[in-house]
Every structure is written in structure tokens, then in C-alpha cells.
Symmetry: C2
Subunit: 194 residues, 2 copies
DNA sequence: GTCTATAACCCGATAGAC
DNA sequence: GTCTATCGGGTTATAGAC
């Protein structure tokens, strides 16, 4: 029965996003999942393996859970980029600028080498960048032909992550909105130049 | 004698930047500073107060320790922005992409309300943005007159912080360089448009 | 597979002599 | 102001019955 595994996974997902990995104790996960310690340690070697499972779940869910809802009613590839950024804005807004991007939070929390965790964080970032790169590729000749689409996608990610960081610190959406507006004006300049 | 206080402060500054606040124990600080527990708790109410002292030190040092060295041989205001970003690149480069911006690291580590800490993180970001805003103001009519100088400064900060996050995760300078190159091309477009 | 109880450890902080 | 020893509590993880 992997129902228990699901309960642990989703409880951990929520807690890591809310309080971070380090500040979440195994006891917190057990309580939130309504599961006992024996069950968790029967299913996972340890706490870090729960994190690995969570990161794998984010990666597997990036298309069905993140991109598909964000893009349901938007077909213009350039607008899809900003529709995705709006999802992060909504997350910030509905949590008083507390919750931003769960991957980014964990990425800066990591300080030890910790290769298996870093590898999965990188895979999540890579998948995000690849999806946005595809949007800019789909924009075709509306963008300058010599523009590096992947570089612009990386720029969109740094804008989002940096904006989340500042908005969480200031507890206002202002910085996030400012950063996205600047990205928008950059894209507009590129569209005009093509 | 505040020599002990200095030893603690600088040991903590280095450790928080290397391993983060949560992963640094008081014992780590004591060992690195060559100081005993009694002395630390005589000088500080607790561990968090050491962090507040460190953040105040960063804020006080932003001009003499960060901006002045970065700008010693550069007078062009726009080039000063990129000279500052180069400092962060050097920090990443000389630490195998482990150490980036200490303020940003702690900012995303914070998950509890923790008002006194957040307040100081915000003050550090604000001072950084104000200094860069001044560069763009000093650029005068080389930039479009209707350009929001502060917004562009926020954008520079999100670019740096986002770039540091990705470079630390991938353990390569590539993402940082890409993000800065995109910012550069945005600024170039603005300069051409003015 | 799930439960309870607990081991083994590290943490921040304190006490009290000097 | 500085030292050593230690307290009390929370941590991850395990043992062993069911």
C-alpha cells in the first residue's frame, strides 16, 4: 500500500515549501501526514530520502501540475512565459509573500556538497528553463533571429527567483512586480527589434 | 575589550556565508573564533543576536568594503553596475560556486516571521538597490528620460541573486554569466534608445 | 506494514568558580 | 571578562512487539 507513502510525500512537500527543509522535523512530517515513525522509516531510509522523493515529484509534475494549468487558456508563446510568472505571483499573494518557489528555497538552503539533492534541484531548474526556452523558440521570427532563446529563458528564471527572494524579504509584491515588468520591457524591446 | 566580539563577529560572518545560519552551530563559531561559550553568551544574548550583528556589519560595510573596492578604477556609472556584479562572480569563482551573496542566502533561509532579522535583510537589499539606482541616475540622459531608475536597479539585484542561485546549484558560472549578459543587452538596448 | 518506546546524539543556553 | 562542566530539550533514527 503506497497510500502511506503518498501521505508522507504530500505532507513533506507542503512543509518543506512552508518552513524549509532544515526547519521541518521528521516529527512535523509524521504529525501532518498522520503516520507513525515506524512507517516512515520502513518506507524511506531517512529524512533526506523524503526530500529526494519530493524533488522527483516536483520534476514529474512540472508539466501536468505547473505548466498545463498556467497555459490552459493561453496559446501565445510569449504570453505563456508571463502567465507562468503570474502563477508564482499568485502563490506569493495568497501566502502573504511567505511562499515562493519551493525549488529555489531549497536550493539556497543547501550548503553541503550533497550531490543527490543538488542533482535533482538542477534537473528541476533545467526542465523549467527548457519549457520557457521552447516558448521563445515557438515565438519564431517575432524575436530576433540571433537571439539566444535559452539565455533568455535563464534570464526569466533568475528574474522570477530573484523577485521571489526580494518579495519574501520585504513582504510586498512590489519587487516581484518590478522585476517582471522589467523583463516584460526587455522582451518588448526584443519584439520591436525583430 | 571588544577584540573578542570582533573575533566572534568575523568567524560568524565567514561561517554563515559558507554553511548558512541554520547549519552553523554556536560550537562552530566558538571553535572558529577561538573563544569559549561563556564569552559569547556574555557578549550576546543568544545566537540570533550574533546574526543581527553580522547583518549590521554587512550594512555598515556596503560602501567601504563592497562598493569602494569594486569601483576604485571605474568612473563610468553604467560600468560600475557591471563592475559590482563582477565582484559576485569573483566570489563564486574563487569558491567553486559555493559562496554567493551572503544576504541572499540568509534571506531564503528565513521562514519564520522573525521581524528583526528580516528588517536587516531588507535594509541591506535597500542599500544595494539605492547605490545602483544612483549609478543609473548618474548616467543621466544616456538612458531614456522616462526610465524608472530604481526599477532597473531592482532588476540588477534580481539578476545577480537569481544568477547566484542557479550557479550555486549547477556549480558552474554559466548561468550567472548568462543572466548578466542578458542584463547587459537590456541596458545596451536602453542606451541605444535614449 | 504499523505501532510505541527509546536510544544516541547534538543543540542552544546556563551556572558558578575564577 | 573568561573558563569548564553541564542542563534540558529536540533531533534523527532504531528496536522489537504486534
Amino acid at each position: 500500500m503506497s497510500e502511506t507513502r503518498d501521505k508522507i510525500r504530500f505532507a513533506a512537500m507542503r512543509l518543506f515549501a512552508q518552513k524549509g527543509y532544515g526547519s521541518t522535523s521528521v516529527a512535523d512530517i509524521l504529525q501532518a501526514a498522520g503516520v507513525n515513525a515506524g512507517s516512515l522509516y520502513y518506507l524511506y531510509p531517512g529524512k533526506q530520502d523524503v526530500l529526494l522523493d519530493v524533488l522527483d515529484t516536483y520534476l514529474a509534475g512540472i508539466h501536468p501540475m505547473l505548466l498545463a494549468p498556467a497555459w490552459a487558456e493561453i496559446s501565445d508563446p510569449v504570453e505563456r512565459v508571463f502567465a507562468l510568472l503570474r502563477r508564482y505571483r499568485s502563490a506569493l499573494e495568497s501566502t502573504d509573500c511567505t511562499y515562493g518557489c519551493p525549488i529555489g528555497s531549497i536550493a539556497l538552503e543547501l550548503h553541503e556538497p550533497d550531490p543527490p539533492v543538488r542533482e535533482r534541484l538542477a534537473a528541476n531548474f533545467d526542465a523549467w528553463v527548457a519549457a520557457i526556452e521552447q516558448c521563445f523558440v515557438d515565438a519564431g521570427d517575432r524575436l530576433p533571429s540571433d537571439l539566444d532563446r535559452r539565455a533568455l529563458a535563464v534570464f526569466a528564471l533568475t528574474t522570477m527567483e530573484g523577485g521571489v527572494m526580494l518579495s519574501r524579504t520585504h513582504r510586498t509584491l512590489d519587487d516581484f512586480d518590478t522585476a517582471v515588468a522589467m523583463l516584460r520591457s526587455h522582451v518588448d524591446l526584443l519584439l520591436a527589434r525583430a
